[in-house]
Symmetry: C2
Subunit: 324 residues, 2 copies
């Protein structure tokens, strides 16, 4: 997850001062940045360099990615008229560079390529709040107080996300990951009512692509069974939920594979401490099939690449790889 | 929880542009602000107007509360030398205005007065990060990578927090609440090893005061059993964990009373939706003894006071109050 990025000096060099969304419109750059971490570490898959806001920017939503802050949407989307201006995504004309980059990457890569999208709730939160939010209060106020607008917004986003994912698979992505990063802010009853139907529709529509799917969020300990119901062949477990407890709650390997869950901050420690944390994750997965070792959230920018390399080596030494 | 504050126009008027920490040094103002919400709503207890950074500011830590951001510590505390400059708290000379305000409030109040403090981990996070943090990465890096500094810092904070709470009880506080607000960022194994011993010592030392105690954090679904072990006669449950599930996980009423857990954002909705959310909390507590109805986190600044008043009335109508 988020393999490429600011922790790599070669990424900072290639991107320079360019906006992330601009960078995503240059297929050659997307290919280069996607390949960078693989030149450093023998990871088992590549994840496309992109941003969850790409499809929204592509249909004309006024969004920019502010360094150190994240996606900012000005003006935000809060009324029915705002929602009605969100037009459907037409991938071939709206995100051609991304589709081109995927095709180029497939020619280069010896490991599977993961495409991804933000889930409707997480995208809705950015659109409604106008930026990253600690409490997601405007999103919840709309969800609780304006159900018709909420439903209309979630319907349009569901369509955009589904179309976006299907296009990535058609272009060559071999796995699709859905990031519902902020859904952990919700009580399970609210999730079930106001979010799950839409994310379920995304996974149902994406089934047509016949590729494995991964469903990920943060702070989702209470939501795991509902997220599994929502869809995905694998469920991401964040670093706050013990891997074994989360796995049991998600329904076990019969239902769903599990991805996770090293705390990215554990990579900032001395190797001895990091190694202990990696081994603890492996021990929690011991004896179960269907574990994808990963961080429980994205790589922090201040991470030393050497630490990541040691983690990849340790995991490969200690585990048996699934034959491809 | 956080009854006083920016959602009350009379609070904004009284405080004006004054820094929160300055405001806390004026006993008359503390009394006035503590009483403000009680003039609006017949809540069952008052919570002292203060801030978790008060005892640290009082021993000379360079902290200020930035409006819209929170506590900022410049320079932050990251070395053993920094830690050794944290001197013990002497409440009678360091926070005399707070103690005076508690005595004045006791003369005025007909409901119990709740005093509080931040827990060692949450205070440590502000000191190490230098301000509010999304990922608490520097805190974790120190915890994982510099165990001697971590231990020394937590020991000093444990002493400061215990002394601070005991002084509040001696001055007249009838309940003590410990806010470990950010502890939900930790994996349970890390909590058990690096945080629980210190918070347990706080609760053990505070037992001398012979007043009920409340232990609160956010995002603590996985930590509840360990927090109960850490201490507290009641455990706070945030709004993301279903009250009944959290209650069972915390060990049930035999072990611990439970406080919570209406989502503060539910107060921003139309009353019909808010009412539904309040009734859902009451239904989740149905048939169990020892439920303190509360929000699952602080009141959001944009909350309409009328909504809070309706909630208080509804809860009083629907439940039987514990005789005092």
């Amino acid at each position: 997850m988020r393999q490429a990025g600011r922790y790599l000096p070669e990424y900072r060099e290639v991107r320079g001062d360019r906006d992330i969304l601009e960078t995503c419109k240059d297929a050659e750059l997307v290919v280069e940045i996607t390949l960078q971490p693989l030149r450093r570490m023998p990871v088992d898959a590549a994840i496309l360099f992109s941003d969850i806001m790409v499809p929204l920017a592509a249909i004309g939503v006024p969004v920019r990615i502010e360094p150190g802050r994240g996606p900012v949407v000005t003006p935000p989307i809060r009324t029915m008229a705002d929602v009605e201006r969100l037009r459907p995504l037409e991938p071939e004309s709206d995100v051609p560079e991304m589709l081109e980059a995927i095709a180029l990457l497939r020619a280069e890569l010896e490991v599977p390529l993961i495409g991804f999208a933000g889930a409707p709730f997480t995208l809705a939160s950015y659109l409604i709040e106008g930026g990253p939010s600690k409490n997601h209060e405007r999103t919840k106020a709309l969800l609780f107080g304006e159900p018709a607008i909420w439903e209309a917004l979630m319907r349009r986003l569901t369509d955009i996300v589904s179309v976006h994912l299907l296009a990535q698979a058609r272009a060559g992505a071999q796995v699709l990951q859905v990031f519902d990063s902020w859904v952990g802010a919700l009580h399970p009853d609210v999730y079930r009512r106001a979010v799950q139907p839409y994310v379920r529709e995304v996974f149902q529509r994406v089934r047509a692509a016949e590729v494995p799917t991964i469903h990920f969020g943060v702070g989702t300990g209470e939501l795991l069974p509902l997220m599994v119901e929502g869809g995905g062949d694998a469920i991401g477990i964040d670093f706050k939920t013990p891997l074994d407890a989360g796995w049991s709650r998600a329904g076990g390997p019969a239902v769903c594979a599990v991805q996770g869950n090293l705390d990215p901050a554990a990579l900032l420690a001395l190797w001895e401490a990091t190694e202990g944390e990696v081994r603890a994750v492996l021990a929690a997965a011991e004896g179960r099939d269907g574990h994808i070792f990963n961080l429980g959230h994205g790589v922090l920018p201040e991470t030393d690449v050497a630490q990541l390399q040691r983690v990849v080596d340790l995991v490969h030494t200690e585990t048996e790889r699934v034959p491809q």
